[in-house]
Amino acid sequence: MNKKNYRKGFFIVIATAVVLLGWPKITNIGKSLIRSVSFPAERVGANINLRASDAASMISGIGSGPEREKQLSLQLVQAQSELNRLRNIESENVRLRKALGFKKTTPYNLIPANVINRNISGWWNTIRLEPGANKKIKANHAVLSPDGLVGKTFQINRYSCEVLLLSDPAFRVAAKLSDYDVFGIVKGMGKTLTGQPLVRMEFINKNIKIEIGDEVVTSGFNHNNNFFPSGIHIGYIEKIYIDDSGLFQHAEIIPRATGGLLDFLFIADEGKN
């Protein structure tokens, strides 16, 4: 390649970079296209990873099989009795609401989702889930695991969607304490050097006494197209501080749910069950 062609090539590269950087619509189309094309390969990779993990856990757990079964049976019985108790409470709640003339609260759908990949560079705390626009998944909807809030959907591709995890510094959600009407904003603070996710609740009224161990849940206040149903568990308060300005308190939270590769997650969706 002569020098003229070499410079021409370099110029084309720089021009393409500038166009792609400055045009968000092209960025989104390009990203969605590449992710849709790479989706089958990613799915195969995720399946291989799942099988390998299953095999490894099977080998390591051969000796403790009967014990584990016993433990799971016990958990199942406990969960069933808890479910029955909650069903009774719910039916009583519906009866009372009817008696008082309240409108029926709209329950939300949970769409099951498989984790197919993590972030490629490690700069972002994100994961990729399997259903995408083909299953009518929308952006800014809550993603849950049985342990509580995991994150929110934010870039929807044809067959997959990106999830911004609770610990990512770009994550924000309106929250409250489960026991009192104390409100604030829960914000991701990244991860520690041991990999522990850091989450903080900010803008808590400084005149209200909050305690270590209080449960933090979503408040259900949604703006724009966000969909975070109220009452989703986020975590428990670990430390309490007064803000630098002296106007608010903030609290460090230990989140319970994590979006691991082997977790089975759910995307909250409006509408009745």
């Binding site: 090539g9 590449i34 992710r35 990949n117 993590r118 490629i120 560079s121 700069w123």
Partner: protein, 164 residues
């Protein structure tokens, strides 16, 4: 054609492995750079034209798999390619020492540029940046020799007028 398909297979595999691999928490949550190592390896072996095409396409693939805007890879990969093409005739790229130094420097440069890119565009907050830089030197210098050893001669060497 065969080389292009092979390269595509290597890039897709590297992208999947890198995404599935866990973050190295004590290096500020960075990952082993399998993807960029394959790009560096290919740039050392391909003809100038093919190296540029490979660099640009791999940068687009990498940035597409990232949640942020196009930029971190699209700005750094061409610079790395330019430097490799400029100096590769003076380097013994099959040598372990060259691979260790080049791998470390390339990933260090990628991390440094990505950090500045995020800082300037205010896309996200940066934490443990010095640790990330040290980690990238270390992980890059490990990953490139491993990738080169695993791929060994699967990409024919075109850089000095060899097989095309």
């Amino acid at each position: 054609m065969k080389t292009s398909l092979l390269l595509l297979f290597f890039f897709v595999s590297a992208a999947i492995i890198q995404q599935l691999s866990p973050n190295i928490t004590f290096f500020g949550n960075i990952k082993f750079p399998f993807f960029s190592s394959i790009m560096v390896y290919a740039c050392f072996r391909l003809s100038k034209r093919n190296a540029w095409i490979c660099s640009l396409l791999s940068a687009i693939i990498f940035d597409s798999l990232e949640p942020g805007p196009y930029g971190p890879a699209l700005l750094t990969y061409p610079v790395i390619t330019f430097l490799i093409l400029k100096f590769r005739n003076n380097l013994f790229h099959e040598g372990l020492v060259t691979q260790i130094i080049c791998g470390g420097m390339c990933y260090f440069f990628i991390t440094l540029t990505s950090g500045f890119f995020f800082l300037i565009t205010n896309v996200r907050e940066i934490d443990f940046f010095p640790l990330k830089l040290i980690g990238s030197l270390f992980l890059g210098s490990i990953t490139l020799p491993i990738c080169s050893y695993l791929l060994s001669n699967s990409i024919p060497s075109e850089e000095r007028g060899g097989i095309r």
